[in-house]
């Protein structure tokens, strides 16, 4: 695996690859963190709308919908902060990955059941005109986020990470 630091004296190609990975992981981490911050922020400004967006999927009972709708935006913000700071990077990436997989399931299930809703991914949500649904875009976009999160989960080490500063990533560079 690339996140194993090259041992001293290794061929320069290996360390070059490792350095490249550190930078790629840094960019991917910041992008994914930014996405999570934005999606959390856009939802937390209107919590009732977030609850309605959850109901519109018709997947969870009424007793659960307000908890998800009210709690999800803050959860996304926290994941975003962790990713941007690079703190508990792998854990945050796995959390994001699981969330995205759940979203992917929710969106495709809404599509399959013939609902005409906006995914509410970045605020909003609810029923829209059937001609205005963008399920393909939403699913592909979500798939992209899944790939980014998977990359970070596999190669969490990166530059400018708090993990390194607090000693959670002490391997030599």
């Amino acid at each position: 695996m690339l996140n194993q630091a090259p041992r001293a004296g290794r061929a320069s190609l290996g360390s070059g690859l490792a350095r490249g990975q550190l930078w790629i992981s840094t960019v991917v981490r910041l992008v994914l963190g930014g996405v999570m911050l934005y999606s959390g922020y856009s939802k937390i400004l209107d919590l009732p709308a977030s609850v309605r967006a959850v109901r519109a999927y018709r997947l969870v009972p009424e007793s659960v919908a307000p908890i998800i709708g009210n709690g999800l935006p803050m959860f996304e913000l926290i994941l975003g902060v962790l990713l941007v700071l690079g703190l508990l990077t792998r854990t945050a990436a796995v959390g994001t990955l699981m969330l995205m997989v759940i979203f992917e399931f929710g969106i495709s299930s809404a599509w399959a059941r013939g609902l005409a809703i906006d995914c509410g991914c970045f605020g909003g949500g609810g029923e829209i005109d059937p001609s205005k649904t963008t399920y393909v875009v939403e699913i592909v976009r979500d798939l992209g986020f899944i790939l980014l999160a998977t990359f970070i989960a596999l190669w969490p080490r990166s530059r400018f990470s708090l993990d390194r500063a607090v000693g959670l990533d002490p391997q030599p560079r």
């Binding site: 919590l47 009732p48 307000p66 959860f75 926290i78």
Partner: protein
């Protein structure tokens, strides 16, 4: 570095001791790291749990309970404004009438189109006493008015008219749609809302109270109730408490009226249904 030498020399023994010390130090370092990771994870998890719990509590307290707040006179327990056969708001739903719930947001362009295409037919059924029309002015599009909460303000104004000047409710509702602002604009100002109300006959003294926001909580609760009833967008129409199927296209002339008449009156004595 372990050695295979059966009889370790002094130098070898020293090396072995150093290796052992190194291994011990490495193990200590790993233990420290594990502990740090555990501490950081625990701290973040606790903070996250608190932050999420607080948000959920704030979210819950932000949705007022319909039963505990002031509602416009004559509003149904289901947060609707029933229209009597005389066109006056707040009249109790007559037994034997087909109950038609109409959910609209004054910012929603398709709701405007709905009013235009079906308003007359609904009025006709209402006047004939065949159907009881129950309007639900809700606010799901507040984010499309650049922060002025137009959906809530307009619905609140409508609720005030229903409460204080119910005979002009329908006229005000129609005027709001006729003068509907475009999405992503600030919408009508409070003064313009008041002006629009007086232009259809609402007394100025009533229009002047729009800014008090007496029914703002009611609009919020009514919106929440609509969502619980299964309304996930506007316009939404329920006939006898059941959402019309997506296959029923109200844009087709006469389609909605036909469906209402075909439904017939509900079997049980009707009050506005509480949920779908």
């Amino acid at each position: 570095m372990p050695t295979n030498d059966p009889k370790p020399s002094k130098a070898n023994r020293r090396d072995a001791a150093r290796a052992k010390a190194l291994a011990l130090r490495e193990e200590q370092r790993k233990r420290d790291q594990r502990r740090r990771a555990y501490l950081v994870t625990a701290a973040v998890a606790i903070l996250a749990a608190i932050a999420i719990t607080v948000t959920v509590i704030i979210g819950h307290s932000g949705s007022p309970s319909l039963s505990k707040i002031a509602a416009p006179a004559g509003a149904t327990a289901n947060a609707g404004i029933p229209i009597g056969p005389d066109g006056v708001a707040g009249k109790p739903i007559r037994d034997g009438a087909i109950v038609v719930d109409v959910y609209t947001d004054f910012m929603c362009p398709i709701c405007g189109q709905f009013e235009q295409e079906n308003g007359a037919a609904l009025d006709e059924l209402s006047k004939a006493g065949t159907a009881a029309i129950v309007y639900h002015p809700i606010a799901i599009l507040d984010r499309y008015s650049q922060g002025t909460q137009y959906s809530t303000r307009a619905a609140q104004a409508a609720a005030v008219v229903a409460d204080k000047d119910p005979q002009h409710y329908l006229a005000f509702d129609e005027a709001l749609f006729a003068n509907q602002p475009k999405e992503d604009t600030v919408g009508l100002s409070d003064a313009q809302l008041a002006q629009l109300a007086t232009s259809v006959g609402v007394p100025a003294a009533v229009a002047a109270t729009f800014t008090d926001g007496k029914f703002t909580d009611w609009v919020t609760a009514a919106t929440e109730q609509a969502s619980k009833n299964g309304v996930s967008g506007t316009p939404a129409v329920m006939i006898n408490g059941k959402l019309i199927p997506p296959t029923l296209d109200w844009r087709v002339a006469g389609a909605l009226k036909t469906a209402i008449l075909a439904a017939g009156a509900p079997a049980s004595p009707s009050s506005s249904p509480t949920s779908s």
